[in-house]
């Protein structure tokens, strides 16, 4: 019976292997729409018969393992591209908001109000005793100051929002890191225990991409199968089964720095050069801060020049002109730009005259500041603002192009990943047919072997 039982064994192995094949097809088909799922394949191999000398003729079969089809290098590239994409996306989001704040294509922005401001001075010069002209000038000045306050206020708010966003993102990041450490544990002990850890590997791969979307990282796979994750400056975030939290801490400028939760003296903000955190930090600390500084410069220079000329003139009472705009507060700067309260309360104190006799010469001089190169000796106020707006437009256009480019590279990589790891229904259906055939054939074997056994027993039965 030795050979017949071998036939049974082999048929049993055949059934079992094809069943496993069908189960694998089932996994793939069930997960055809699971994001990050790498298709699995039953690796079927012949069972070697070295240690059973009698059965040199027969070769059994076994499932060696369930292989996860993925390209390690592609995964590495995708993680890297993730941080580029996250960075570009944050930049574009912020610049879109900034562009919307300053959008003057429908009129009503600072440039138009600046023009109206200079015009109000010219109108006053033509009729220095006119109460209407004086009140109109006060209104135009207040509107201009209000617009400067509004725009700079919105920029400042955007900075604060990004700041809060950084804090929230760090929390999310900590969550992902803890999950990676947890999965590392499962991988190490799962591999040791020979369990199927393919879906854990998939999840961990997805987590790596998510982490890299948030901040640029380096990672290394250890010999035990764990993945160690490092910041771009080498500080470890995940080491085998331990993860390290990041935290935020307010710094001297009132915004958050990123620090290590277990070592608050270690400031790692400079390590966040990519990913969403990198993008948000760059926008908060460089781009928006730069635009605020530009507005400060513009308003500051204008106020300085207007006040200087105003102080050389005389108001309707014969008094020397005081401040027309309030001088800047050191902390708030342009965010608190205001017309001097005395002027606002009493327009007759506008020093429009160059003598005590109420002519309009000083108003004319101030109105002529429209064409004076008050910005660094090379640009008028209007030109400076127009270039400023053009720069914002250029930055927004660049950010859009950059995002578009990174997205298309990422799409390429994702497509390649799909090709390697994606589930093709056509292919799986073919495999299903194949394994079903194999299963049927193996079942036939069992039935034939059973008939053989019955025949044999019939021989012995009397």
């Amino acid at each position: 019976m030795g050979n017949i039982s071998s036939i049974f064994n082999i048929a049993k192995e055949g059934l079992w292997v094809n069943q496993t094949g069908i189960a694998t097809v089932g996994s793939n088909v069930a997960n055809v729409n699971t994001p990050g799922y790498s298709r699995q394949r039953a690796v079927i191999g012949a069972r070697s018969q070295y240690d059973v000398p009698e059965s040199m003729v027969l070769t059994g079969t076994q499932v060696i393992n369930i292989e996860r089809l993925y390209d390690k290098y592609l995964e590495f590239q995708m993680v890297g591209q993730s941080d580029q994409l996250g960075y570009a996306d944050e930049r574009k989001k912020a610049l879109d908001r900034i562009e919307a704040i300053f959008n003057e294509s429908r009129g009503g922005g600072i440039h138009e109000l600046l023009d109206r401001f200079w015009k109000a001075w010219e109108d006053l010069a033509a009729n220095p005793a006119g109460q209407t002209e004086r009140t109109a000038l006060v209104y135009a000045s207040q509107n201009l100051a209000a617009m400067f306050r509004e725009y700079s206020g919105e920029l400042y708010n955007l900075q604060q929002e990004l700041n809060t966003g950084i804090s929230r993102t760090v929390s999310r990041l900590n969550g992902y890191l803890a999950d990676i450490a947890d999965l590392n544990y499962k991988v190490i002990y799962g591999t040791a225990g020979q369990n199927n850890i393919n879906d854990i590997l998939d999840k961990r791969s997805e987590l790596l991409k998510k982490v890299s979307d948030l901040i640029d990282i380096n990672y290394v796979e250890t010999s035990e199968g764990a993945v160690n994750v490092f910041l771009s400056n080498g500080i470890p975030l995940v080491e085998a089964v331990r993860s390290r939290d990041l935290a935020v801490q307010a710094n001297a400028r009132g915004v958050y720095d990123i620090i290590l939760a277990d070592d608050p003296t270690k400031n790692v903000t400079s390590a966040a050069t990519g990913g969403r955190l990198g993008g948000m930090l760059e926008m908060r600390d460089h781009t928006i801060a730069g635009y605020l500084a530009n507005l400060d410069d513009l308003a500051g220079n204008m106020i300085h020049e207007v006040n200087a000329l105003h102080a050389r003139g005389y108001d309707r009472y014969g008094n020397v002109g005081g401040n027309f705009f309030e001088p800047f507060n050191a902390i708030m700067g342009v965010r608190d730009m205001r017309v001097d309260a005395t002027i606002a309360a009493e327009p007759n104190r506008i020093a429009a005259s160059s003598t005590v006799n109420d002519d309009g010469e000083n108003a004319l001089a101030i109105g002529s500041l429209k064409d004076a190169l008050i910005m660094g000796g090379t640009a008028t106020a209007g030109d400076y603002y127009a270039v400023f707006l053009g720069n914002i437009g250029q930055a927004a256009a660049d950010a859009e192009r950059s995002l578009s480019h990174e997205t298309s590279v990422m799409t390429q990589l994702q497509n390649q990943h799909e090709q390697v790891s994606g589930v093709s229904i056509d292919e799986e259906m073919m495999n299903l047919v194949k394994f079903q055939l194999g299963y049927n054939a193996a079942a036939k074997m069992v039935s034939v072997a059973e008939e053989m056994l019955v025949e044999l027993l019939k021989m012995v039965e009397r």
């Binding site: 010069a125 005793a129 005590v356 004319l364 064409d371 707006l389 914002i392 799409t411 589930v423």
Partner: protein
């Protein structure tokens, strides 16, 4: 190359969202009719368009200024032409045959011509006086109470009337010199009825300062600045008009700017002499730091505050000399508490005559760095100070008095003066006319420039509607095709064929 379901669907999605994005952008352009709907659509264009818009605003302002200046100048010329007619009529009276009865009628004619001239010279445009220089809310002229010396007089020094005429009706004073001599020695008599009766009693002596009282608050001052002294027989006529103004140089009351910190008083010190300048001026004192009276440092200006002297820091007691002309100082006296930085005090000094404005220019900008002066000051048009040539009011008043007195020589001299005045006014009219032509040329240039700017803005900013509509239809077709394809491709799979 393996194709999976996910790959197919992702590719379809990408194509769809791409088509949607282009479609959306086009729809936006069509709705707004602009190529530039946000700075990132065309950063260079954004900057340029803002610049062009700014230029157009300026152009608009310049055009408004030109209109206003032009209107002012037209009215000025209309008034000046009326003045020419008045001068011509006045000359007529002087050239006419002059029998005694006719002369009085002619004198009255000249009187009414003077009233007309006064009204013209005090014309307003809106609520600003045309002929006051920059002091556009000060009435420039009042009727002059002019002292007229008879042409037969020997005395050839200056004459001023002073004080304030307080009587309720017009009157003529005549003064005759009884005994000649220097000031302080000569004697005089006054008549109030044209020389018929003289003041009772002996002749009075002309005081050393040359000022004699005529009556009703009026004084007459002789200044020995000619070659001959007062001589017996010299006759002087003064027509006093109700609410007229005397001709002596005056220094107004010093004023403090309304919002000074200083709470004390400032007055003209007794050491103040007669103002000797030949145009109206405003003197200003400005304190550059705070301190007690006598301590605080200050500067002085002689042109209303436009230019300033160096800082005076020496201790100054309680008086400041704002005009240091020897013998004709103007001194201010301060009394009270401390002065503060930027406290300001000013005093107006009027030269002899009846003009209360100044000789400054009013101008507006009609181009970048390009200004147009649009006024003619009363000083220039009707007086003989500053840029003026002939004291027109004085000439007419003298003509009237001369006609009343039958002083033929005096009449002829005034007619000559009036001819010179006519020439001068003609020049003013021509100059204003030339300025107006200049403005017209500027106006046309600005019009051309404005149209050009508008064109440049439109080129950059406005959509070419036909091109956009065609492109829009193409995109719409492309989008529709994408939809159809997506559905078709999505439907087919091997499952349809497995039994």
């Amino acid at each position: 190359m393996r194709i999976t379901e996910n790959l197919k669907f992702r590719m379809l999605n990408d194509a769809l969202s791409h088509a949607q994005k282009n479609y959306g952008r086009l729809a936006e352009k069509m709705a707004s009719q602009k190529n530039i709907n946000r700075p990132s659509d065309d950063p260079g264009g954004t900057t340029e368009v803002l610049g062009y818009r700014s230029v157009r605003e300026s152009i608009g302002q310049y055009r408004r200024n030109i209109e206003n200046a032009g209107a002012w100048m037209e009215i000025t010329n209309t008034k000046l032409e009326s003045v020419q007619k008045i001068i011509a009529e006045a000359k007529e009276t002087g050239l006419n045959d002059q029998s005694p009865g006719l002369r009085q009628v002619l004198a009255q004619t000249v009187g009414s011509l003077i009233e007309e001239l006064l009204s013209l010279a005090n014309s307003k445009h809106g609520d600003r006086y045309l002929f006051s220089g920059t002091e556009t809310d000060t009435e420039p002229f009042r009727r002059t109470i002019l002292p007229v010396a008879a042409s037969a007089n020997t005395f050839d020094g200056s004459l001023y009337t002073g004080g304030t005429y307080a009587a309720g009706s017009d009157k003529t004073f005549t003064v005759r010199i009884a005994n000649g001599g220097a000031l302080g020695a000569a004697t005089y008599q006054v008549s109030e009825d044209g020389g018929t009766t003289w003041q009772p009693g002996p002749a009075g002596t002309v005081p050393a300062d040359g000022t004699i009282t005529l009556g009703d608050g009026l004084t007459l001052t002789f200044v020995d600045d000619g070659s001959n002294r007062l001589t017996a027989g010299d006759l002087f006529t003064v027509n006093a008009y109700r609410s007229g103004t005397t001709t002596a140089p005056q220094v107004g009351d010093p004023r403090a700017a309304a919002h000074n910190t200083f709470a004390g008083t400032v007055t003209l010190d007794a050491a103040t002499g007669t103002y000797a300048g030949d145009t109206n001026k405003t003197f200003v004192v400005k304190f550059v730091n705070g301190g007690a009276i006598g301590d605080a440092d200050y500067r002085i200006s002689a042109d209303g505050g436009r230019t300033w002297s160096a800082v005076y820091s020496a201790p100054w007691g309680n008086t400041i000399t704002v005009d240091g002309t020897a013998g004709h100082e103007i001194v201010l006296a301060f009394a009270g508490d401390d002065l503060a930085e930027n406290d300001l005090f000013y005093v107006r000094a009027y030269t002899s005559g009846n003009y209360a404005g100044n000789g400054d220019d009013l101008s507006v900008r009609i181009g970048k760095g390009n200004r147009a002066t649009y006024n003619v000051s009363g000083e220039e048009a009707f007086t003989d100070r500053g840029r003026g040539e002939v004291d027109l009011f004085a000439a007419l008043e003298t003509l009237k008095t001369a006609l009343e007195n039958g002083d033929k020589d005096l009449i002829n001299r005034q007619v000559n003066r009036l001819t010179a005045a006519q020439d001068h006014i003609r020049q003013q009219i021509a100059s204003v006319g030339a300025r107006m032509s200049g403005l017209n040329i500027s106006r046309e240039n600005l019009q051309v420039l404005d149209e050009k700017m508008s064109g440049l803005i439109s080129d950059r900013e406005d959509v070419d509607l036909e091109a956009i509509i065609v492109e829009f239809q193409m995109r719409e077709t492309a989008l529709r095709a994408s939809y159809v394809m997506a559905v078709e491709i999505g439907k087919k799979s091997i499952l349809d064929f497995l039994t």
